[in-house]
Symmetry: C2
Subunit: 357 residues, 2 copies
């Protein structure tokens, strides 16, 4: 088990959960659903699967302190701040380098920081199977989510034949990664039964991902090799990253590698999963009253239905005669948004002054 | 001029402007519209018309401190706390007693604490005429408001023939006081041109109101006489009120006297007037953007129209995709209310715990 590592990607800007989330306290640092910050839940979910020393978090300079605070069980040197964001392929490469220094024979899982998974046993079982699949044949493995609706907000993974089976879970060859589809296409994916949602959960060996990066993104790989060489010469990590990381090619791991590689396999998540992508999603995780209102905190509803109230501590939100709103109170800002227009929050935040983001 | 007194009625419960207003800081203690609390504006509006010593405020125990704070120019002994609310006739009687002790020949105006009147010159001119009308023939005088719409939220005053004229303002005999009408009736009142809104502004001599109370509410008058007798014997006002005031008959001055007396006259307000009765009214007093949104404080509006934002200091309210809402932020509570349902605020407040009212 000591050859297994987990890298948690914790670099979101926190725009979609404004005003609760801010640049310095994005969604993964907040208990959006549950008693602990989403990132803490993600770390806790690995308890018993890997040792704390084998868990890395990749974040950014603004959030580094916050991440350290919500991950008290992790060694501080395992919490890495990218000097600038260079998309997921560079982050994967960075994680791969750090783990390679510890053990070139290791495998690693990449997980998002802020997905909600309650069945941690089912999660660990699937993750174990994914590691086994990666270890046995140097494959690139992704854990897919069986779609429950024709969602247009996720990429899809088209599965092919089963290539092996571990602990009663089938491993399928990936036929193709698909970009976020339109509704009609999503509907056809759903009906075919051949597609998973791409949840950004990957497992691969250091060797396999290193080779794949070299094959499909040679420019990025050259940059990573330079960082590796100078780390091997004893240079300190953070000043080195400050110098070289900003020059790395900026590309997503999906586009750079997963969509191109041949040896990609997938398995179905045998656990609940919700990426809680925006405010309307929290509705699924709080009890609702008889009019479909939900409250995270104190709220009263009069002649109102289908509302979501997020009031924080010691604050009451009173609704009268309104339907289908998201209302979020924070100390210095309040959001009042029609539920079906939550995608506009991000744009609104871009227009705000620096003291409100 | 020293025979003229003004009594300001400042006893509202502050329910309609919740959550900004509370039991201890009702509307008249807040700058709902304007830079100063409504009561302070009411006192300031009398500047040059009567001396501070001739202005009384009748409030309640909960609000007494707050009233003292926003009326720094008034002698503290002129700020009187009713031990319990006994409706307006008892308050009128109490004011009448206190002024009678200073000068039995005096006249007094009763004014609400929280109406918005910007034209203080026009106001003082009309008030002067009302005093003259009260002084010349021991009449009960009320200043009416010329209706601009068929409002169903006010009582109406049916005017008859002109009985005299002062400073180019006609004094009309009152034919009848009318209760709050339905819309159809209100429409007919508006069209006839014979009706004013009853704004609760009265002027009368101590002698005239004393006689009227004796004639139409003898039970109340007996109670007031007892208070007067014991005050004359040198008893202190506040302990005396604590003992006797709760026993006084509870009835409105409109119902007790104004609707029954014969010698009632009225004149039209020669000034702007807005009772700012509930949140939707503040819309008239703030500039609106091109989509009809108004903000008292910081707000941003995206795909939203006709909203009212009251955000207080250093707090931003962001609206996305919502129309015709009132959103009011305070430290411990937020209101989100459809504009046309603001009348429900009062009922909602009744259902709240003691720490929120």
């Amino acid at each position: 088990m000591s050859k297994r590592y987990v890298v948690i990607m914790a670099g979101g800007k926190g725009e979609r959960f404004w005003p609760a989330s801010r640049l310095k306290r994005p969604k993964h640092l907040l208990p959006i659903v549950g008693d602990k910050p989403m990132l803490t839940q993600t770390v806790d979910r690995l308890d018993g699967f890997v040792e704390s020393e084998n868990i890395f978090v990749i974040t950014n300079a603004e959030q580094w302190e916050g991440v350290c605070k919500v991950c008290p069980t992790l060694p501080k040197e395992n919490i890495v701040a990218e000097p600038v964001g260079r998309d997921t392929a560079a982050a994967v490469g960075l994680a791969m380098l750090m783990i390679k220094q510890k053990d070139p024979e290791a495998s690693l899982a990449m997980l998002p920081a802020d997905a909600l998974i309650k069945d941690w046993k089912g999660f660990q079982r699937a993750l174990d199977v994914a590691f086994s699949a990666a270890e046995e044949a140097s494959r690139l493995v992704t854990i897919g989510i069986e779609p429950t609706e024709p969602a247009t907000g996720y990429g899809y993974i088209q599965k092919g034949d089963s290539v092996s089976r571990h602990n009663e879970i089938d491993i399928f060859k990936v036929v193709e990664f698909k970009e976020k589809p339109d509704l009609e296409t999503a509907q056809s994916y759903l009906e075919s039964g051949d597609y998973f949602w791409n949840a950004g959960m990957f497992v691969w060996s250091v060797q396999a991902i290193s080779e794949a990066l070299g094959m499909f993104t040679p420019e990025l790989k050259t940059g990573l090799d330079e960082i590796e060489r100078r780390m091997d010469e004893g240079e300190e990590r953070d000043p080195l990253l400050a110098e070289l990381y900003p020059e790395l090619e900026k590309i997503s791991i999906d586009f750079a590698v997963m969509e191109k590689a041949e040896n990609v396999v997938t398995l179905a998540a045998t656990f609940d999963w919700d990426d809680v992508g925006a405010w309307p999603a929290i509705e699924r995780h709080f009890p609702s009253d008889s009019s479909g209102n939900v409250a995270d905190g104190e709220a009263v509803f009069e002649s109102s239905s289908g509302n979501i109230a997020v009031s924080g501590e010691d604050h009451l939100i009173a609704f009268i005669g309104v339907d289908d709103l998201i209302v979020v109170h924070t100390e210095d800002a309040t959001l009042v948004c029609k539920k079906d227009q939550a995608q506009k929050i991000k744009d609104l935040v871009k227009g705000l002054g620096p003291d409100r983001v």
